[in-house]
């Protein structure tokens, strides 16, 4: 079906080298009109580099990128825009203080230099919204919209320039289930209108559901492109990892639970959590399961002392303690938080890996206040050991590392400090399959060492797989604890929807 449609973008034998890395080698790639083309591969496989070549951000070292049969002018965002190519990056480019409509028509709409007719812009805004089946208020401040809505603004922006190609880099990574469904519908509408879409995602189920064709990348090569009908999850995973097929280590829980290390009663965070209670045992991974916006992150932050508005009762080892009013107070009680966004909240990007790891506790790396580089390196290497982080990279600036490696460092930081209770917020977001397994294995390893771990993840499958018990959260309230055979995605969703319907 798609084969009959004309090709919009074609990359012919493109190669790109960065210092120290051959990012792409002789890649052939094509996108047809009205096609959703999935692009999958592990982190570092070259997906993003390929997108940057196709969108004209980078210049290929060899090969060429053709748009409608003519070579693209590289290095000029303007030329790409005129060629009808839009990119929606994982990190959104929304100006939070401007209105929704102003964000969509950021480049000035159809009259870049001229007088802006507000009523015309508003009409055009509603038109675009209608096209996508969206109901957005043009005058709403963009910063107060949810991430999903902001993303919809970006899609509208892409549509406004009469684009024919939209490249989406992990658009669903930050979305909840409902929001994903909405995005799928939008993508369906875009496809119908003849727009070609390249869709990068780590979620293979999603790719198989959504895409007409799927291309797999590995180590800078495009290893295969096949129509959806001929693709399966297993085949994709095999193609992604190549011959070195990772055997999944079992993540089974040790059935013997330790004593209660943390008990939280009647936790309240204004506007986010109401009367939430739960307990956590030594050696246990407790999942907080729920949809985005259910209050999971807020609960974690409150327990970690990062939200001064929180109130509630806390018991540690059965002893009543005052609610921690600061991160430092929580740390003194042995509670540590690995936050949701490792780049903006977890790591100091322009310092080295080793410096970041030991940041959490420098008592052992300094003598008389002076830091010993040797001790720092040794301590960091020791903390990174269980995480399979390449210690040769300890002296590298964190900003140059991949998402998976950054996440390992964000955890290594707490391995180094050895808290008694570790709160982990979305540790596997945006990292590849291999790194995901490793991160979850480390959490289990830490629990086996006697830590109590609380895990928040948007991927319910992951909670089911990795946690011993799960507290279901919906609408800021606890909706029961599931464990054993009851801990399944279906049961979690049942609980969630029971609350949502009651509300």
């Amino acid at each position: 079906m798609t084969a009959a449609r004309p090709v919009v973008i074609e990359a012919r034998k493109v190669s790109k080298r960065f210092p120290g890395v051959q990012a792409l080698t002789d890649v052939d790639f094509e996108l047809r009109q009205g096609e959703v083309h999935g692009l999958v591969g592990q982190n570092g496989a070259g997906k993003s580099t390929l997108m940057k070549l196709v969108s004209g951000v980078h210049t290929p070292d060899a090969g060429e990128v053709l748009v409608d049969g003519e070579e693209l002018r590289y290095g000029s965002p303007r030329a790409s825009r005129e060629a009808g190519i839009a990119v929606i990056y994982q990190e959104l480019t929304i100006a939070p203080e401007m209105s929704a409509a102003d964000n969509v028509f950021l480049s000035g709409g159809d009259r870049p230099a001229g007088w802006r007719s507000l009523s015309r812009l508003r009409r055009r805004f509603d038109e675009l919204g209608g096209l996508l089946g969206l109901d957005l208020d043009a005058s709403e401040r963009a910063g107060s919209l949810s991430v999903a809505r902001q993303q919809q603004l970006e899609i509208m922006r892409a549509l406004d320039g009469r684009r024919r190609v939209i490249l989406m880099d992990e658009p669903t990574a930050a979305l909840g289930r409902h929001e994903r469904e909405a995005l799928y519908r939008i993508i369906g509408a875009l496809r119908e209108s003849g727009i070609g879409i390249v869709y990068i995602s780590h979620d293979l189920d999603e790719v198989l559901q959504l895409c007409d064709r799927v291309s797999v990348m590995r180590d800078g090569l495009l290893v295969e492109t096949r129509p959806r009908e001929e693709a399966s999850k297993d085949a994709l995973v095999k193609a992604m990892v190549g011959s070195a097929l990772a055997t999944r280590p079992p993540l089974v829980a040790d059935a013997s639970k330790g004593e209660e290390v943390l008990r939280v009663d009647d936790l309240n965070v204004p506007g986010a959590a109401h009367d939430v209670s739960f307990s956590l045992h030594r050696g246990e991974i407790l999942g907080l399961a729920g949809l985005v916006g259910a209050g999971r992150t807020e609960i974690l932050r409150a327990v970690a002392g990062a939200d001064p508005r929180a109130t509630g009762q806390m018991r540690i080892d059965g002893q009543e303690v005052p609610w921690p009013r600061s991160v430092r107070a929580a740390l003194r009680r042995g509670i540590a938080l690995a936050p949701e966004d490792r780049k903006s909240q977890g790591l100091v990007l322009n310092r080295t890996a080793a410096e970041n790891v030991v940041m959490s506790d420098m008592r052992d790396v300094a003598r008389g206040g002076l830091i010993s580089r040797r001790r720092r390196r040794a301590a960091a290497a020791a903390a990174c050991g269980p995480l399979a982080f390449d210690t040769a990279r300890l002296d590298v600036q964190v900003s140059t590392l991949s998402g998976g490696n950054q996440q390992k460092l964000a955890l290594a930081k707490w391995v180094h400090r050895r808290p008694r209770i570790l709160l982990v917020d979305e540790p596997t977001r945006g990292i590849d399959v291999g790194a995901k397994v490793e991160v979850l294995r480390v959490l289990r390893h830490l629990a086996d060492d006697g830590l109590g771990v609380i895990l928040v993840s948007s991927e319910l499958e992951e909670v089911v797989e990795a946690a011993d018990r799960a507290l279901v959260v919906a609408g800021g309230r606890g909706a029961g604890v599931l464990e054993g055979a009851d801990l399944s995605v279906d049961r979690i969703l049942q609980r969630v929807f029971a609350v949502e319907e009651a509300a």
Binding site: R17, F18, P19, G20, S48, K52, D61, A304, A306, V327, R328, L331, A336, L337, P339, S344, Q345, G346, L347, V348, L349, N350, R351, E355, M359, S360, M362, A366, G369, L370, I371, S399, T400, K413
Partner: protein, 326 residues
């Protein structure tokens, strides 16, 4: 041929950018020194250089403190006013008591000023530019009121001691080197220094890691206050007098020194050796203009152009580095 070109470009983007970003400022210093030395034989002499160290001690010592503030992600615009105020304090107290007491009083006042700055920024959460602009204005006004805008001369001979020399080197120059060395070691090698970098590099990550970020931030202003106190004492001692609005160029010189050295105004990146190089460049240029009898008015034009040039170069190198990572 194309492969050849690629590899040369590759080599440049691999090593060139990093070297340029790291040592471009040293290269600039070497060029400026060669330029001035080739035009004037008086420049590279022991006497001239030790004189310069005394001349630039006040601005240099404040720049040491400012380096901490900027790496920690802030900026202190009150240093010019607090410098003058501390100098006045020294001169006023010296009217009635021993010079040593006057010196300590001035440094103590500097500490108080810096602590107040730090508290306004961290506790009242006022943007550091506005906070220190405000305290600077207040201090400048207080200084004028206190002195009636007249110079305060000091007759006590002991008061002038800091402006004198030992073994041909001015005390003030020795103090400058001491501040640079100790300030540099603390910044680069201690736990506290790491906290300063982390707080400036990513405030949220630092505070979620449990670092005492507010204390760290406030301490950089307090230290800068002390530096302004020491600088004020040095200047008052050198002149044997003090005055409100002592040195209107001081604030600009201090910021130029730190930024020219390559310490980033976005916080989290920088080093004390950079500030030392910054001092050397500014002192060399200034001295060059004097030695060559050039119109001093051109000097400001030149300084401004150099400052913009340095920042543009740094931002270019950063963009190259980022492109390499992406």
């Amino acid at each position: 041929m194309s492969a050849q070109a690629t590899s040369v470009r590759g080599l440049f983007s691999r090593y060139g950018v990093r070297l340029l970003r790291t040592y471009g400022v040293v290269l600039a210093l070497v060029l400026v020194v060669i330029l001035v030395a080739s035009q004037s034989s008086a420049f590279l002499t022991w006497t001239n250089i030790t004189n310069l160290s005394g001349q630039w001690a006040a601005a240099g010592i404040i720049a040491v403190g400012m380096t901490y503030v900027i790496i920690c992600g802030g900026l202190d615009l009150s240093v010019g006013a607090s410098f003058s105020f501390c100098a006045i304090t020294a001169a006023q107290v010296a009217q009635t008591t021993a010079p040593e007491v006057a010196f300590l009083a001035a440094i103590g006042v500097g500490l108080v000023i810096g602590t107040i700055n730090g508290m306004v920024v961290t506790l009242l959460k006022v943007n550091s530019l506005i906070a220190t602009l405000g305290t600077g204005l207040i201090l400048a006004g207080l200084g004028l009121v206190w002195t009636d805008n007249a110079p305060i001369p000091v007759t006590d001979e002991g008061f002038a001691r800091l402006g004198q020399e030992v073994a041909g080197i001015p005390y003030s120059g020795i103090l400058l080197v001491l501040f640079l060395v100790v300030g540099g070691i603390v910044l680069a090698r201690t736990v506290y220094g790491q906290w300063v970098y982390a707080t400036g590099g990513n405030l949220e990550a630092a505070s979620l890691t449990g670092l005492p970020t507010r204390l760290v931030t406030a301490s950089t202003y307090a230290f800068t206050g002390v530096c302004a106190g020491v600088a004020g004492v040095i200047a008052a001692s050198q002149l044997g007098a003090a005055q409100a609005d002592f040195d209107p160029d001081l604030l600009f010189d201090v910021i130029t020194i730190v930024v020219l050295g390559g310490t980033s105004l976005t916080g989290g990146f920088g080093a004390m050796w950079r500030t030392a190089v910054g001092i050397a460049i500014i002192a060399t240029l200034d001295n060059g203009f004097n030695l060559l009898n050039l119109d001093p008015n051109f000097q400001d034009i030149f300084k401004g152009a150099i400052l913009i040039g340095a920042l543009a170069l740094d931002s270019y190198a950063q963009r190259l580095a980022r492109a390499r990572e992406g």
